[in-house]
Every structure is written in structure tokens, then in C-alpha cells.
Symmetry: C2
Amino acid sequence: MNTTVAMNITKSEKSRISEIDFNNLAFGSVFTDHMFFCDYVDGAWQQPQIAPYGPISIDPSAKVFHYGQAVFEGMKAFKDDEGATWLFRPEENWERINKSSDRLAIPEFPKEYFFDGLKTLLHLDNEWIKSGDGNSLYIRPFVIATQSGVSASPSDRYRFMIICAPAQAYYSGEVSVLFAEKYSRAADGGVGFAKAAGNYASQFYPTNLAKEKGYQQIVWTDASTHEYLEEAGTMNVFFRVGNTLLTAPNNDRILDGITRKSIIQLAKDAGIDVQVRRVSVSEIVTAATSGELKEIFGAGTAAVVVPFKSFGYQEKDYDLPSIEDSYASKFKKALKDIQYNRASDPHGWRYEVK
Amino acid sequence: MNTTVAMNITKSEKSRISEIDFNNLAFGSVFTDHMFFCDYVDGAWQQPQIAPYGPISIDPSAKVFHYGQAVFEGMKAFKDDEGATWLFRPEENWERINKSSDRLAIPEFPKEYFFDGLKTLLHLDNEWIKSGDGNSLYIRPFVIATQSGVSASPSDRYRFMIICAPAQAYYSGEVSVLFAEKYSRAADGGVGFAKAAGNYASQFYPTNLAKEKGYQQIVWTDASTHEYLEEAGTMNVFFRVGNTLLTAPNNDRILDGITRKSIIQLAKDAGIDVQVRRVSVSEIVTAATSGELKEIFGAGTAAVVVPFKSFGYQEKDYDLPSIEDSYASKFKKALKDIQYNRASDPHGWRYEVK
Ligand SMILES: Cc1ncc(COP(=O)(O)O)c(C=O)c1O
Ligand SMILES: Cc1ncc(COP(=O)(O)O)c(C=O)c1O
């Protein structure tokens, strides 16, 4: 292993791995033997540490509890058939967590700490990464504000952590989505583009309402007019009208998804007409009615690509056709082939952990 | 003391109170000897507990860290010259924390638990409440999502807590505010009306930018047009034009402040023309230029009433006159006289803790 950052490592005495049923994993519920953490104190990130995974001790007045000063990332490690371990565009995650941190007034985390921490952790817990299609290790870097005190101002202490959860292929079942008409996820000039903790809890209640009506997820629209389609709770969204692929442009409300930008590139590589522009609810409803709307799918690290079965808007449901050679299945396969080191990697997206 | 809820109480062995310099308290940084907490498990709030104030142990995958599922309240206890302890409109805080919880998909907290917990805690830590003008005990009820697991869905475990910090009069110095032109605090259809943790961290970065320009706080405008003035970071805002008092109406972006609604009532009682309606930036700029704008002040539990010295908008600063018999000082005195049991209480806002 090629690391340079000094780290304080305490290994777990006995691995828990034999207790885990790797064929029955609920997403993000079982964690590996170790965790990585690094504290920001007196204006500097201190020496990083790795310790056995377990509870942390934190003051009840810590700012993360009161003011939601916290950001996170989501990434995956894959094992190929020769036993090598791969990440997918990990520099993007490092850059993005720092973009999120900037917006939340959290100090940026140094690149070497991020990568050396990640590599050392994946080295120690390598057995937890299973080969085989669909298997992966979900990796969750995050930062929380740890200063004690209930005044509403940025913390002067933080903890950066990485925890890891083995994951199987993500079968979400059939997904019907609801286009948002009243609730919103993010404001212009707000923090929607950041993976800020508070962006997620605010979606739970409207999503519960949608679930009661039989939908699995919401596709958010712009908060000002609800006329333009933006993204889902943890996925960006693509629309195929005829053979044209549409997706909303990045702005300060939408997460700049790594799966999204990879799919845009793969679509260009395949000569597909891909348009990154505002997508209005009305054009999608019109295309659904005329039969021109072929697919809608979500794209994100956890689920890779999720085709939607139907969407609801203004008390009406619109079914999507089930088509062969869908873009969704094409991109899902292409992404996974790169992630599992089964195909060539023309854009240099794979990153070997060694 | 008049309580009915069974509680598990562990008293601290030795009070820390003799170590505290009550004449030099930074807001919200020193906590009393005890804390109240109650866990939500298996669909029910369990038996409440009081224990010595101290760190809690929590899994690094707890949902509060990742998804910001957390809400809070802020209230104060006052001691009158006879040694009796008073709260100000505490039912409003209980109702509001549950409104916030609903929006964040957190289960509501029962009224008897809230009040019996609060009373028992204030009884145990009564010495920490100092009499004398400006002295108070700041009380922070809050709820955090404690379920382990990094899937973005509502937690099935929560902890409700109350912690308390002795406070002195809040001298903020002279406050210049900046009217928001680009950043925003809350979206239509979002969670701005809730005391949701994530609403606060998202203000830190824009507030830092404002501070670099010499302002202490931001007055937020509506996210869609930035044409209407809404509220400050932790205070509602009032404008006095001539002798008319203006404040924005409640909507889903603005916190329904208890100080705000008390001031509206006091203004009505005093025969002041108070208009609860949208207040445009342009009318305030016009009134400032013509000399009709007499005052702008913030209103909130922590600071009670804070007169603003000037405001900045589009790279220009507008000074506010310093006037005698300001509404700000009138309402501040009236509120404090009720809070400290020095004046009659026609609306029944005082609540004795006994
Ligand atoms: C709000 C949101 N949109 C989109 C995505 C997809 O981004 P990525 O492809 O980088 O995983 C995520 C998360 O992963 C997300 O949280
Ligand atoms: C965003 C916001 N607005 C206004 C207020 C004032 O409300 P109250 O008068 O109930 O304290 C607060 C907090 O206390 C707040 O957090």
C-alpha cells in the first residue's frame, strides 16, 4: 500500500465478518470492522486515526445536533474476479465533499488524508468487499460539527469520518414516482447542490405522503414555479423522449451527481443526442400522452440506474412503456462493466486501491 | 412540585455551580448539572430520564449525522425578586417543536412528558437560575434521530433531550444587517417554518460573507424574487415606517416566532397600527431615503429585541436614526416586565414553575 500520512491505527481484536450474512444485507445497516476519523481542532486537522467500528462519545450540545452542520459523500468499492479492489471516480467525491463543506462553512479536508485514510481502511477491511456482480462496499465519508455550545454560529471543531457497509445489488422493485407540486427540496441560493445533511430529512415527510399514495419516490421540481423537473431524493433523473436523452442542468439546487455526469459522457460516446437543459413538466406530460416518452430513470451511486415504471402528476398516472434495449439497461451495464473492471476504461474513471 | 410522569432520576454527585462565573457567560456555552432525555424505541416514547449533564454515546451511522433529522426549541426561565421561577408561553414551544417534528417526520413528544421533564429539571437545577434583570436560564429542548444505518429514510429511533445554559443579558453591540440578494434561507414548500437543524447551518456561509463586509446578520428575502423581507437568522424582523409597524406574515418559509406574536399583541394593546403583510425591499429603501423609516428591529427569545443600526442593500448602506421612545425599547421593556413578573400579565403569558 502506498500511503504517506501518519495514522494512529487500533485494530479490532476479532473480526465480526463471520457473523454477517452477505446474501441478506439491508442497505447501509451493517458496518465493517473499522472506521476512519480525524478531528479538526485549533484550526487544523489533527493526526488521522483508525479504530474498531463503534459508538462515539459526543456532547449533547454539539452543533451537529442543533444546527445540522454536517455533510457527507457516498461512494463504492468493487472487487474484480482477480481480487483487485476498485473505486469509481473517487477524486470527484473528494472534490464534492469539500464543495459541500465550503457551503456549510466547514473546513476542507486534505486530499492525502482522504485518500490515505480510504486506502488504509479498505486494506484493513478488504475481506468485507465481495466479488460478484452487484456486490460492493458502500463507503460513507462524512463530517460533523462537534463543538459544544448552542449558539447558532459555525463550529470550531469537526470530526471527519469514513464508515463502510457491504452492499448487494440494489433491487428497489418497481418504482413509481410523483412529480412534486407543492413541497420542495431546495431553494435558489440555498444548499441543494451540496450533500448537506439537512437536505435529506426535509424530504422524509413529503416522501411519506407520496408513499401513502402508492409512489416510491418524488421527483422534485423547482421551488419557485414547480414547472421544471430537477432530481429525485438521492438520484439525478434522465428522460428519454424519442431517442433524445434529457436531464436538468446543474444549478445551486441540484446535486452534481457523478453517475449523472458519467451517463452524459457514455451517451455522447454512444452518439446519443443528450441535451442538458431545463426539462419542463408539461413537455414530459405531453410526450407521455403522445407516446414519445420512452423512459425515465434515476442515476446515483447506491442504485446505479433505476428505471421508473410510471409517474404521477396532478392526480393522474402516466405509465411508461417497457422497452427492449432501454437506455437505462445500456448505461447500467456500461457503468458496471467499468466499475467491476470487465471493460476498457477510456476516460480513466477506475481507480485501483493498492 | 406537581408532576405525574414517572421518571428515572440520577442526581449529579457534586454541583459544578461554584466553578461558574455568572458575570462572564458566553451565550449557550456552560450547561447546568443535569439533562433530561427520553428515547423513542419500538414506536413509543420510553420512560423519561434525568442524569448528570455529560456526553452521550451514539453510533457514527446515526441518522442525525447523515440526514439532519433533528429539530429544536429555545425558551427561557426567569427568576423574580421573590425567588419564584417563570417561563414565557411554554405551551407555544411545545406546540412548535411538534410542528417542526411533523415536518421532519419525527414523532410528536407528549405534553406531560415535556412539562414534567422541564419542571423536574428546573427544580433540580434551580440554583442555576439567577434573579436580576437580564439574567435567565436558556432552555434547549431538541430531538435527534438515533437509528443506526445510512439509508436515507426516517429513523425508527429518536432521543428527545432538554439541556439548559445560564444566560446574561444579550449585548450584541451595534447590529448592521444585510438584505439578502443572492443566497436564501428557505424554499416555498420547504422547512423554513420549522426549527429544523439544517436551516441554521445553511446560513453560516452567507453570514460569514456578510460579516467580512462588516454586517453582523442577514435579513433573508424570499428565495424566488428576493423582493420581500422575511426574517433574520434567529429573529423575526419588524419595520417602523412613520408610526406604523410592519412585519412579514407567517408562511412555510418563516418561523412563527413567539416574541414576534407577543410584540404584535403588545402593539395592538398600545393602539399602534401594526400591519402583518409582505414588506418589500423597495418600500423600505424608499422609506429610508425619505426619512420615514424610523426603526428596524429583530425579535427572538435569545436577544428579546435587537434594534438595528443600519442596513445594506445593493452595495449601499442606509443608516437608521437613533430615536427616543423607540418601539424597540418599549416592547423590550414590556416583554421583560412580564417575563420577570414585574408587571401585570393580561394575556396569561407567564407560567410559574412550581
Ligand atoms: C440529492 C442527490 N442527487 C443525486 C445523487 C446521485 O449522485 P451520485 O451519482 O454522485 O451518487 C445523490 C447521491 O448520491 C443525491 O444525494
Ligand atoms: C429562524 C428564527 N426566526 C425567529 C426566531 C424567534 O422565535 P422566538 O421568538 O420564538 O424565539 C427564531 C428563534 O428563536 C428562529 O430560529
